[in-house]
């Protein structure tokens, strides 16, 4: 690493999040789930990092840790070079305008009893001293920016379709012109024709406001379209990360390869080659396998995989993989 790199907007070092399961008064019986395990990531200004993985892999928990919506158990989190691992809510407040989140289900994240105009005015009430008319102007501006109409401010969330509600969720995240937006499955509840509209909108906003996105999704094709870099998670850890094209066209981790080959392709002529069908089910996160978490389902597993946890190491330009026996490039 000789060339100077820009300072990352977000940096995590060995970030972990553990949940205690069960409420037994005896500590011995309390069990611990490692939702996120020792994740070290740099997210650079202007890039879009996709985080992919299957349900329960910790991608949403990681997303919530990045904006400190959940407490971090160990490791460190920096935002613009400042350590905010254990910053108090009061200390975080000025930073909140810089980091926003868009959720999967816009119906659940918008208060059904309040008008859209009120919902969108909240960020201004909290963070800026504006007169009522200034506030309304800003709200209308936001609605227009996400391709809704100014008069939609008077309506309630239930009067909108799913795609429109997600536009409102995006408008709210955008209100204070943040630097970072963590979007957790923002299009997975939408029909495919609407999904394309929302992806296009997110792309336009990225260019217009020089946003940095963390885009969490289980749909690889959406991530391939939208992200510049991707991190693949399995049982709480990042197993592979690198430029989207490299990771998806020549995956080096056996799990990424299986994930990639499982995506059904809407094409009858160019069928993908031999599909890798994974054996068995995801192991219980309460009792994760030793060594490499994936060894129980991996075709290339050997003794070393059962004993030693592989660490992310560089295999190609900006392409890292955590595997003792990576696939050929």
């Amino acid at each position: 690493m000789t060339e100077p790199r820009p300072q990352p907007l977000v940096r995590t070092s060995d970030l972990s999040k553990r949940y205690r399961v069960g409420r037994s008064p005896f500590p011995v019986q309390r069990r611990i789930v490692h939702a996120v395990e020792q994740v070290s990531l740099d997210i650079f200004p202007g890039e879009t990092l996709g985080i992919v993985g299957e349900s329960g892999c910790g991608k949403s928990t990681l997303g919530r840790c990045l904006v400190r919506l959940t407490e971090i158990t160990s490791g460190a989190l920096e935002f613009e070079g400042r350590d905010i691992t254990s910053a108090s809510q009061r200390q975080l407040r000025p930073l909140r305008r810089q980091m926003q989140m868009v959720f999967q289900d816009p119906a659940a994240s918008l208060n059904p009893r309040r008008r859209v105009g009120d919902l969108l005015a909240d960020p201004f009430r909290v963070h800026e001293k504006l007169s009522r008319s200034e506030m309304m102007d800003r709200v209308e501006e936001l609605l227009v920016r996400v391709e809704l109409l100014p008069e939609h401010a008077q309506r309630f969330p239930h009067e909108f379709s799913g795609g429109q509600r997600q536009r409102i969720g995006i408008a709210r995240a955008l209100a204070l012109k943040p630097r970072l937006i963590v979007a957790d499955e923002p299009v997975s509840a939408l029909d495919v024709s609407i999904q394309a509209q929302i992806i296009n909108l997110l792309c336009d906003l990225r260019d217009e406001f020089s946003l940095t996105y963390v885009f969490i999704a289980h749909d690889l094709s959406v991530v391939r379209q939208f992200a510049s870099r991707v991190a693949v998670m399995y049982m709480g850890s990042i197993v592979e990360t690198g430029p989207v094209d490299a990771v998806f066209s020549a995956p080096r981790h056996h799990y990424t390869a299986a994930l990639r080959s499982a995506v059904p392709v809407p094409d009858v002529d160019n069928r993908p080659g031999q599909r890798i069908v994974l054996k068995g089910d995801l192991p219980s996160p309460l009792d994760p396998p030793s060594g490499c978490r994936f060894h129980t389902r991996c075709v290339a597993a050997t003794t070393v995989c059962r004993q030693q946890r592989p660490v992310l190491s560089l295999v190609d330009k900006a392409h890292f993989v955590a595997c003792h026996h990576p696939r050929g490039g």
Binding site: E54, S55, D191, V192, I194, A196, R224, A262, V265
Partner: protein
Amino acid sequence: MPTDAPLLVVENLCISFRTEGGVVPAVSGVSFSVERREIVGVVGESGSGKSQTLLAIMGLINSPNAVVSGSVRFLGQELLGLKRRALDAVRGRQIAMIFQDPMTALTPVHTIGDQIIEQIRAHENVSRTAARKRAVELLDAVGLPSPESAVDRYPHQFSGGMRQRAVIAMALSCNPALLIADEPTTALDVTVQAQILELIGRLRDAFGSAVILVTHDLGVVAEVADRVLVMYAGRVVEEGGKGQLFREPLHPYAWGLFASIPPMRGPRPARLTAIPGSPPKPSQMPQGCAFGPRCTFRHEACVAQPSLGGAGGHRSACFLPQDSRQDLRRTLTGRIPA
């Protein structure tokens, strides 16, 4: 009965609901047939009427405000309007259905085995021991690991993929001639989905079942279907063999669907070609072609309702001239379809 007759014939199926705001159509004039051992994919977005169509076939629409008309003939027998008892001889036994969420199809208080045994004994006069033996065989056939012990476990002890396998085993327990699957893999992770799709593809060989697979995912259809129906706003807008429909789709809505999907290989388009607007509400159906307001190629003829037409088993409901369709499609995306 001649064995070359279609297994299932649906003709002019209409479903509407009486509401405070008047009668609202959900499905309008849907006709299709399913041959023996055929896998038919039904694609459409939410509200396209695909699930209602399936429910009507199974006689599961029992809202007092629903009006169902048309004809659903299974092996020559009319199912619409059949009495509950007569219907029960057909469904579960000859037509089985699986749903998106396997947890709602299983009761949490009985073991998987008991639920499959109940299903077998409801339709066949066999002993409990024999039914249990069948249950173990079925669980083995759908690929559940260690079926002898799985049969005594409860649904909550299974993962989502295992539950969907168990539900499929239950659906197959009476060797149905037709399996109706409503979004069977939507709630599952993609690697588990691959396992289940592989299983559904195998059913035809192992059990001789025909399958109607409803999904919103064109990738899933490309994976397993022989023939495809595309539904929009309660109507079938295109129907064809999988090869025909994927190589040269005829309806602008199908073009839009294909163009909306981000490609998994090759260059990434700078922008996706989205379909503008959103599907019409059933209470506010536009005049004429329901896709008209979102269609790039709308013209004067589109104020009328197009009917499904075309040659060689590949039909579409659109007024555009047949021979210029593929050129028009290219202008939509700027991409040359593969």
